[in-house]
C-alpha cells in the first residue's frame, strides 16, 4: 500500500462523499485537530458539509470517532481563551481517515 507523503494523513471518500469530491482518496496536511476536519473539507469542496458530511461517520485508523464532540471542544477552548489546551483528538502524520456515508450493503 502506498504511503502518503510525510506530514500528511490519507483521507478516503466513499459513495456520496466520493461523488461529491470526485476522488476516492487524497492526502491532506497533518497534524490536524479532528474538530477542524469538516472545516478543511468544506473549504476544498464548498457545500460538502450540508450536502454530505452531516450524515456521515468518520473513522481514524479504523476506529469511529466523534467529530461533533471535537468541534464543541474546540469552540469551548477558543471561547475560554485561558490558554489551556483541552484533550483534543489530533489527526497525526500517517493516519488513515475515512468518510463513511450511510451504508447500503445487502
Amino acid at each position: 500500500m502506498a504511503q502518503a507523503p510525510t506530514g500528511t494523513f490519507q483521507v478516503h471518500y466513499f459513495a456520496s462523499a466520493s461523488s461529491y469530491t470526485n476522488r476516492q482518496s487524497e492526502s491532506l496536511p497533518a497534524p490536524l485537530p479532528l474538530g477542524k476536519l469538516f472545516e478543511v473539507l468544506e473549504s476544498k469542496y464548498p457545500g460538502i458539509g450540508a450536502k454530505v458530511l452531516t450524515s456521515c461517520g468518520v473513522s481514524v485508523n479504523l476506529e469511529y470517532v466523534d467529530v461533533e464532540e471535537e468541534k464543541v471542544k474546540l469552540r469551548d477552548m477558543e471561547a475560554a481563551q485561558d490558554g489551556q489546551s483541552r484533550a483534543l483528538v489530533i489527526i497525526k502524520d500517517g493516519d488513515e481517515v475515512a468518510i463513511i456515508p450511510p451504508v447500503s450493503s445487502g
Binding site: S25, E26, S27, A98, G106
Partner: protein
Amino acid sequence: MGVSTETSRDSYASVPSETKDSTPAHLDRSTFPRTVSLPDERIHIELTYDPLSADTALSYTNSPAAGANVFFLGTTRNTFDGRAVAQLSYTSYPPLALRTLTEIARQSKEKHGLIAVSISHRLGTVAVGEASILIAVSSGHRRAAWRAGEEILDECKAKAEIWKREEFVGSKPEDGEWRANKDWDGEGNLVSHQ
C-alpha cells in the same frame, strides 16, 4: 474477472497528492478476495469481486453437530421505487467492513449459541438477479439458526461499510444514485427520519 485500476499501483506513490487522484489499495481488485477466516471460532467472512457460491458458503458452516442450516441469498432487484435498474455496483472500505462483519458474526454466534457463521458480500458490478450477499449459519436446532440468520442480515445492512449504487435504464451512468439502507425497511417501505 478482469482487473482494472485507473492508476497503476507503482505510479501513484510518487505523485504529489494534491495534484492527482490516487487509487487506494483497498480499491485495487488484485488485493481481493479479502477474507477473515477464523477456524477456531468457525467464522468466515469474505469480500469478493467474483460471483458468490452458495456451495462454498455452506461448506464453511457444515457440521455433523448441526441439526439446522439456514442460508440467505440476497439478489439484486431490477427496480428501485418503480424505476428500471440497468446496473448495480457495490463498493466498500474493506478493512473496516471485514472488522464489522466479523464482530456481527461473533456476537450472533454468542447470543444464539451457533455452531458456525459465514458472511460473503460481492463488490463491483453485479448483474440484475445475481447474488450480492450470502449468509449461512448452523446450529444444533432450527430456532436459533432462523433467528440468527435474520438478525445477521439486519445488522449487516445497518452497519457493514459497503455501499450500493444504482444506474437506471434511460439515464446516464453519472446520474446513478447511492442508496442508504436506513431509508428503507425490510418490506421495501420508505422510512421517514423525523
